[in-house]
């Protein structure tokens, strides 16, 4: 059927197409990462509960323009209000969020193994470096409920 020459040509063409596709899609990736990153920052800021800032902002938190208020997760009866919070970061950023529960509990960030008591009715703020990539669960030890999902992109 085909000669060896035509086979080699066809293989080379296929290889060339694959390489071209790699750069075509790879090029698209750079754009999408930057836009995804900005989306993520927007989403994170949007996730910050707006009405809570009015209530809790007055109690001692100083106005520091460089550090925006971390998103607050309110827990009532062992369940997160408004569903599981989705927090997204890029590697190297700082993971910051606050938890306020109506009953005392313990918050556990899987993978990072951050464990912290949350006394009833108080705002406890978490702040640690996003140095592990992946999707991590944040759960309450007492109630066993998942309250947040932390996504860390490379």
């Amino acid at each position: 059927m085909q000669s060896n020459g035509s086979r080699i040509v066809a293989l080379l063409v296929a290889l060339a197409v694959i390489v071209a596709l790699f750069f075509a899609f790879r090029g698209g990736e750079d754009d999408s990462t930057t836009s995804a990153a900005t989306d993520a920052t927007e989403a994170t800021t949007a996730a910050t509960t707006t009405d809570e800032q009015d209530q809790d902002g007055g109690q001692g938190t100083k106005q520091e323009p460089a550090e925006p208020e971390p998103p607050l997760i309110r827990v009532a009866g062992g369940e997160p209000q408004g569903g599981v919070a989705e927090l997204e970061y890029d590697k190297g950023e700082r993971i910051r969020f606050s938890v306020k529960s109506d009953v005392p509990d313990e918050v556990h960030v899987h993978g990072y193994d951050v464990e912290e008591e949350v006394p009833a009715g108080e705002v406890t703020t978490f702040d640690f470096a996003a140095d592990l990539e992946g999707v991590f669960e944040v759960e309450l030890h007492e109630s066993g409920a998942q309250i947040a999902e932390i996504t860390v992109n490379p």
Binding site: L21, L132, F136
Partner: protein, 489 residues
């Protein structure tokens, strides 16, 4: 068979292929939930697009430029040197391997019953679902049918039979002949049962309880008793060769390996060639499809199927079912649906092939091509569970080894160590996933192409028939990449 008919089949095949690929590019999103508190980032869209394109191009090249002489069928087996063969497959090695298997089985049951309830701190759960279930697949592909040697049930049964034979003065023969039509079907049932235990019964999330180490221990004991009864009825080796779930499941992947034991001697064969003889017993096809379907379900439930599962769970819960029951019922239905869907896709390809050769029955064709899907089942496993193995094995060999019961003991001084989730980054995981699917696809194509040549002789008919097999394989490979790109997205 007319040329016009084949051309129609060819065109129809490529059209279907392009429809499938464009359908796979549809967007979707869902929240995530993992079994161990950490899950993989979704495969980036560009890598998904690139991977799918490569799968398509590679398929096309394979179809037009594929070899024309049969390569893998009727392969040669050459024994390795006497000394090495005896060291690996001889009697002392067999006894040692069997003893290790029995020890590990006992440890699973013991830690399962006596150890802590927390699945992540009890030796049994990680050992059974990660080290044993996934690790043995890796060993099988690399070294051949290793599980047969370590099979604890076979070892116990042989020891018991030898002891009994000594007492009564002669070896007993099995009272029943194993029916040939039953083939690998008991293993298929066992595989479905294991997958049910892992993915449906053991699925945490929502408000349901997961799989406790105690349940796992009980399941292990029940399976052991069932195996001993079956071995007594049909004979130890006969049952191991056909009905024993794990020997059959791991043996499927071992058929790709270079090493093969024949008559107690270790030998070499060309890589992949062993698979050509694997699918002969009845039920083999079902075993491959269940293996693919189970991983598909596990991948889909953390992405594509997340929302449908969630809403069915909600409505079942609203209708008065307890959360645990509702979740298990939901997952059972979706698991069954996924298995049926995977089987339907496979059979669609087979019926397409019948357009090229109407003389062969669909079942005949299906059995002849079943083995070509083993690499896809393997690719799915590697892609979905690579990071789980990397992370959980750190636990297995540190704190789960030193503190198997989770009671605070420190046997080897490694109880304080944990899992380093920074060991492999997201990029490394993505490239392993992508590489597994593409390489698995290429190997599947090679096996399918070779079988088509062996079956039809002339490369033209083989190519026409191959288009359909190819469509099915492309579908599974692109689906695999798609599930990864949607997982936890």
């Amino acid at each position: 068979m007319t040329v016009g008919r084949s051309r129609a089949a060819l065109t129809a095949g490529w059209t279907l292929l392009s429809v499938l690929v464009s359908a796979a590019l549809l967007p979707a999103s869902a929240p995530a939930h993992g079994l161990v508190g950490r899950s993989d980032l979704p495969l980036p869209d560009w890598l998904f697009a690139w991977g799918s394109s490569i799968v398509l191009i590679v398929s096309f090249v394979a179809l037009t430029l594929g070899w024309r002489a049969v390569r893998f069928e009727d392969y040669a087996w050459r024994p390795l040197g006497e000394r090495l063969g005896n060291a690996v497959a001889g009697r002392p090695a067999r006894i040692a391997a069997g003893a290790i298997g029995v020890l590990l089985l006992a440890l699973v049951v013991w830690t399962g019953i006596e150890g802590v309830d927390a699945p992540d701190r009890n030796f049994s759960v990680t050992f059974v679902f990660v080290t044993f279930w996934l690790g043995t697949v890796v060993l099988s592909v690399l070294f051949g049918d290793v599980f047969r040697a370590f099979n604890p049930w076979r070892a116990i049964a042989h020891a018991a039979a030898a002891g009994f034979g000594r007492i009564v003065g002669r070896r007993q023969t099995a009272p029943f002949a194993y029916p040939e039509w039953l083939g690998r079907w008991p293993a298929v049932a066992g595989l479905v049962g294991f997958v049910f235990l892992e993915l449906v019964w053991g699925q945490t999330g929502f408000a349901a309880a997961g799989l406790t180490p105690q349940t796992l221990a009980v399941a292990t004991v029940v399976y052991s008793l069932y195996t001993f009864v079956a071995m007594t009825l049909f004979g130890i080796e006969r049952w191991t060769d056909r009905g024993e779930t794990f020997t059959q499941y791991f043996g499927m992947f071992a058929s790709l390996a270079v090493f093969e034991v024949r008559d107690g001697r270790l030998g070499r064969r060309p890589a992949l060639a062993g698979a050509t003889r694997w699918a002969i017993p009845a039920g083999s096809l079902a075993l491959v499809l269940v293996a693919i379907g189970a991983t598909t379900f596990d991948g889909a439930q953390e992405g594509v199927l997340k929302d449908p599962i969630s809403s069915l769970f909600q409505s079942l819960g609203d209708s008065g079912l307890a959360p645990t029951t509702a979740l298990r019922l939901t997952n059972t239905l979706f698991l069954a649906g996924t298995l049926l869907a995977v089987a339907a896709i496979f059979w669609a390809g087979i019926y397409g092939m019948r357009m090229v050769d109407g003389k062969r029955s669909a079942l005949d064709l299906a059995r002849r091509f079943a083995h070509a899907f083993i690499p896809i089942a393997l690719a799915y496993l590697v892609a979905h569970y690579f990071s789980l193995v990397v992370y959980q094995e750190q636990a297995q060999f540190t704190f789960l080894l030193s503190d198997p019961f989770g009671d605070g003991s420190n046997l080897f001084g490694t109880a304080g160590s944990g899992i380093d989730y920074g060991l492999v980054g997201a990029n490394a995981i993505w490239y392993v996933q992508f590489g597994a699917i593409v390489v698995g696809h290429v190997i599947a194509l090679a096996l399918g192409h070779d079988r088509a040549l062996a079956l039809w002789g002339d490369s033209r008919t083989a190519s026409y028939s191959q288009v359909w097999m190819l469509v099915t394989m492309v579908f599974f490979s692109v689906l695999g990449l798609y599930l990864l790109s949607q997982a936890n997205a």
